[in-house]
């Protein structure tokens, strides 16, 4: 929200009512403030006025007597407007008649029927007889695209779809083609549409010209039940309206102006609603009898699980048990699981998918600023003067956060600086870019800090007020640029230029993606970024800040609930005995005083027989981790394994007891997005079979184990959580006082946090320069169309992107005589894999990209996993792989 300090206001009159509005307000906006409805097809609050549909015509009486378009006319002081004068209505009627002259009368079979603006306005403003006559359009409907159907006969050529694609999504996938009566909207050159499929064009279409193939003819708006809920895919946490007909999801509709996305959705949120109804969903508890998992009753399964976990606890104490949890569970489940493991089973071997790198963003931020989560809200990202994006393909990993960054480009024409090993979409749109050797993010960050220090770009106030802190950082940067240039493949001048551009902006926002926190020295890299923000004056409450992007939708919930052996609820470290006592008091139990093992050590302890039983919730480590981490052998070596899942995952197949859980659409709860907004999910449909909500299962298991957990609703659990972690007290708010939070962050930073591990922080890892006989760099990461394995159970998303394809640079492929769809063999030190190829300029020559969600695990298994040191989060690093590529005939 851009609030200028002094806004000139003007006084205007609409339909006799006087109102004061800021200068530059358009007639339609002022009318909305007064609650006066002006009809419009093409106007959209988040876009610039297009004035194409001409239906919003109003009569201006003063200062001139004339008809004006309400959507595009800025008001003048003393302006008087009539929105329903006879002259206005007459004009509108003519405009309606003109629009309806060519519009087909196929409302009964049109998916928009019942919520169509053209229908509504023709009843309200149209006439029963149309004086105009012409041949109706007769274009065949374009159904070539996988997802979106274009019916040009229904189109009123308002251009809203094209505008949303160009201005908000910045993809330019559709446009007008041909002229005059035969103008149509579609992909350029009459090709079939093949875009990001965000579906925003469909949402803004006032008529039924663009419709979804996945919901075709399946609903009527009045038949649908509406449920406002939170998206379960990426960490943006968009709010949407999950519509269902008779308990079956019919479609997802965005809610204008609500939630982090303000009404924008990406392809996953919009069209990935099929996994709940997948036939492979677990419907009954399964219990192992011999080699087989057989269906059992809840009583049997719970008793069996309690017996197995108790047996391990009696034989080896709490340390013989381990828990592993995924970032897709609701906060309530995570909280109860934490209490069950730590309070009831007295185990501290409790880890989560945060371990994959997210933990570094949490611990580094907490160490320096005493806070967890993003420093800026999405609104502040939109208002940033300069954005530095490091190691993240926002479009693919967090599309809606990406829209916020794109918004600074479109609306403010602000510089966006990107550092990445891939030529991402934001990089193409942004003002400056550094394309680096994969995996060398940490070196560039050091280079940027060095450039800020060396080139005298330090914020004046910071330099004068905190000379000690500045000197401490300066001491670490005495080396030459050589050590940065070699591993990154960049020139010194480029780094300095980017540092200058970042320091030049007033409000500078830094976004660090999973390739920073999940890379070599992820913890240090993020700490360096905090130093960078401090030096450029962006830590001192000017609206800038440093933000770690998370991947899974409730990863921040995991962090806030302390789901790692080194963390406590609230984000405090486990070693903090006061904080531990506080948790113990709240839970009225004794917390074990030994620190638990992180995932990697847990796996080893399982193989050695030290850990005898494990409880895995909502994640599939055997499938997700590369084979050289021996997850299958580790879980196989356990005496007892309990898995709680939606589907029979690879891990569940090894389990002794499998509990069927409910999906996000079948239960109540909350998710916390990367901004720190805690938002509710609601029950929209019936769960399949006997599946239960995760928190219910944990609670009942605790009861079997003689634990104290007893709740009747998710709401009740949240009240309990809020006492321990205040962020959970309010829903839907972006941690209101962000400026205050940043002030506290700065104080904490200056209070000794910046020097904590300074000597070690700026040492670049030796592995950066490691030579390899394999010349290609393969990155295994997130793809736009998928999120985790969950989305691969979605036939809708799988139809758009079947994920098992390697992406390589088009020019390089041409040089190697590889064509789209050809198969190639990848060879690494760990083995080889054969995959089909597709081309994209997103990947730079010498690099390859493979989606981590792929069903084909051969590529993931190519990785030779390195485990980062305990200070760097003990994260298994397997996403960057050196490979050799050869084509297979």
């Amino acid at each position: 929200m851009n609030t200028a300090t002094q806004v000139d206001t003007i006084t205007v009159t609409i339909n006799g009512e006087t109102i004061e509005v800021p200068k530059g307000t358009r007639i339609i906006q002022a009318a909305q403030q007064l609650g006066v409805e002006i009809p419009t097809f093409c106007y959209h609050p988040r876009m610039l006025p297009n004035a194409a549909c001409r239906i919003c015509t109003v009569e201006v009486v003063k200062p001139m007597n004339k008809m004006f378009m309400a959507c595009s006319t800025e008001m003048m002081d003393g302006m008087e407007v009539l929105t329903d004068s006879p002259r206005t209505l007459d004009d509108r009627r003519t405009n309606m008649d003109l629009l309806l002259t060519q519009h087909p009368l196929d409302c009964p079979v049109c998916d928009k029927g019942g919520e169509c603006k053209l229908q509504d306005y023709s009843v309200k403003y149209g006439s029963s007889e149309n004086p105009f006559e012409t041949k109706r359009k007769d274009f065949p409907e374009d159904i070539r695209s996988t997802l979106l159907d274009f019916n040009s006969n229904r189109c009123i050529l308002c251009g809203a779809c094209i505008q949303v694609c160009t201005d908000i999504q910045k993809v330019d996938a559709i446009g007008f083609s041909k002229r005059g009566f035969i103008t149509v909207v579609g992909a350029p050159m009459g090709e079939a549409l093949d875009c990001e499929f965000c579906g925003q064009c469909m949402d803004v279409c006032p008529v039924g010209a663009i419709t979804s193939r996945y919901s075709k003819y399946k609903f009527r708006p009045w038949q649908e039940a509406s449920h406002q809920t939170t998206c379960t895919y990426c960490s943006c946490g968009c709010q949407y309206d999950l519509r269902s007909v008779d308990g079956e999801v019919s479609r997802v509709v965005p809610i204008e102006g609500v939630g982090p996305g303000e009404g924008s959705l990406c392809v996953k949120g919009h069209f990935g609603f099929h996994f709940m109804e997948d036939e492979e969903r677990l419907t009954k508890p399964l219990v192992r009898r011999g080699d087989k998992l057989v269906e059992a009753t809840w009583d049997e399964a719970l008793t069996e699980a309690a017996r197995g976990l108790m047996a391990a606890k009696t034989s080896g104490g709490g340390s013989a048990l381990a828990g592993y949890v995924g970032g897709r569970l609701a906060n309530e489940d995570i909280y109860l699981f934490s209490r069950l493991m730590r309070g009831v089973l007295e185990s501290t071997n409790l880890d989560s998918t945060l371990r994959m790198g997210g933990i570094n963003g949490v611990t580094a931020a907490y160490a320096a600023t005493g806070q967890v989560g993003m420093m800026n809200s999405f609104d502040e990202l939109r208002a940033a003067d300069v954005t530095l994006l490091v190691g993240s393909d926002l479009t693919e990993e967090a599309p809606i956060c990406g829209l916020a960054v794109k918004d600074t480009i479109t609306r403010g024409e602000k510089p966006v600086l990107t550092v990445d090993s891939m030529r991402t979409e934001i990089m193409r749109l942004g003002s400056q870019r550094l394309v680096i050797t994969p995996g060398s993010e940490v070196a560039v960050i050091k280079g940027l800090v060095k450039a800020v220090v060396d080139e005298g770009l330090i914020d004046e106030q910071v330099a004068t007020r905190y000379p000690e802190a500045v000197a401490a950082i300066r001491d670490q940067l005495s080396g030459t640029y050589k050590e940065i240039e070699t591993p990154t493949g960049l020139a010194k001048a480029d780094i300095i230029e980017m540092a200058k551009a970042f320091a030049a902006g007033d409000k500078g926002v830094i976004l660090a993606g999973p390739r920073v926190t999940g890379g070599l020295k992820g913890h240090s890299a993020f700490a360096m970024l905090i130093d960078l923000a401090f030096l450029t004056g962006n830590l001192s409450g000017n609206g800038g800040g440093v933000n770690a992007l998370t991947v899974e939708n409730n990863e921040l919930g995991l962090a806030l609930m302390g789901m790692a052996p080194e963390l406590l609820p609230g984000g405090a470290p486990w070693s903090d005995s006061d904080a531990r006592q506080q948790v113990a008091d709240a839970w009225q139990c004794e917390l074990p005083d030994f620190a638990g093992l992180p995932l990697v050590d847990q796996l080893e302890a399982m193989r050695e027989g030290k850990i005898k039983a494990a409880y895995v919730l909502g994640t599939d480590p055997i499938n997700a981790l590369p084979s050289d981490m021996k997850a299958a052998a580790s879980f196989g070596a356990l005496d007892f394994l309990v898995v709680q899942e939606l589907f029979l995952s690879e891990t569940a197949k090894c389990a002794n007891v499998v509990f069927p859980a409910q999906s996000y659409a079948e239960r109540e709860g909350t998710f916390t997005n990367m901004e720190g907004r805690t938002q509710a999910i609601v029950k929209a449909m019936k769960a399949p079979g006997k599946a239960r909500a995760d928190w219910q299962i944990i609670m009942e298991l605790s009861r079997e184990l003689g634990g104290p957990l007893s709740y009747t609703s998710a709401e009740e659990i949240r009240e309990d959580m809020a006492q321990l972690v205040p962020q959970f007290a309010t829903l839907d708010e972006t941690n209101a006082d962000r400026a205050g939070g940043r002030q506290a962050a700065l104080e904490s930073y200056l209070d000794g946090a910046y020097v904590a591990d300074m000597d070690y922080r700026y040492d670049l890892p030796a592995k950066l320069n490691e030579a390899s006989s394999h010349e290609m760099h393969l990155y295994v990461g997130d793809s736009l169309f998928h999120s985790g394995v969950l989305s691969t159970h979605n036939w809708g998303l799988m139809k758009i992107d079947s994920v098992d394809t390697l992406v390589m640079n088009s020019r390089e492929a041409r040089k190697l005589k590889i064509r789209e769809g050809d198969k190639v063999r990848l060879t690494s030190d760990q083995g080889s894999a054969v995959v089909p190829v597709k081309m994209d300029t997103r990947v730079q020559p010498g690099s390859l990209f493979f989606p981590k969600h792929a069903l084909n695990r051969d590529v993931t298994n190519l990785a030779g996993t390195t485990i980062s040191s305990a200070t760097e989060g003990s994260a298994p690093l397997y996403k960057f792989v050196r490979v050799t590529l050869e084509s297979v005939d």
């Binding site: 409302c107 009964p108 159904i143 003819y217 399946k218 009527r220 038949q223 008779d246």
Partner: protein, 205 residues
Amino acid sequence: MGLMRDIFMTELMGGMKLVFLQMFKPSCTLQYPHVKHNVPDGYRGLMSLLRYEDGSERCVGCSLCEAACPSNCIKVVSDEVPGQPLVRYAKEYYLDITRCVFCGFCTEACPVDALAMTKVYEASVYDRRELMFDKHKLYELGEAHLADGKAYLLAHNMDDGTLNPTEGLGDNRYEFPPVDLGEGVPVPTTVGLTREALEAEVAKS
């Protein structure tokens, strides 16, 4: 005067006059169920779904009948015809006759003349579940009473000229044909039987 009227019971005689006069008029009591009404074309009996001449379903599954229904007895599940993109049809169609108030709004809402009411008014059954009509049953009714359906739509001015091409369009709304008492139809053997006897009869056939 009053006394004279009391003595000669003039009121009674006046009343009896009417009675005796009626004795000589032909009877207008219908011997239902031995004789049945010849109901007018606009009669709103059981609902039916109609097909086109080539046998394809008229209904496009637009759910407007469902929206128009005041007693919420219609349920339409629409979908795309498998293998035929962009062709909309009613995958399922349910009509709960037990709740139907026979108002005919659904037929008026139908944009494709797929719904028509037949002249069938004898809907009583022993099992209520039989009155939950599904799509199959409704099309069956439509086939069995096609002429009634066409006549209904013509009588209510809902025919677009395709159903009854020879009739032409006109204001037929309130033209009710006279009641034809006829010779009477043979009484079905099942009339008046107890339920057990009826079931035995059905089992026999």
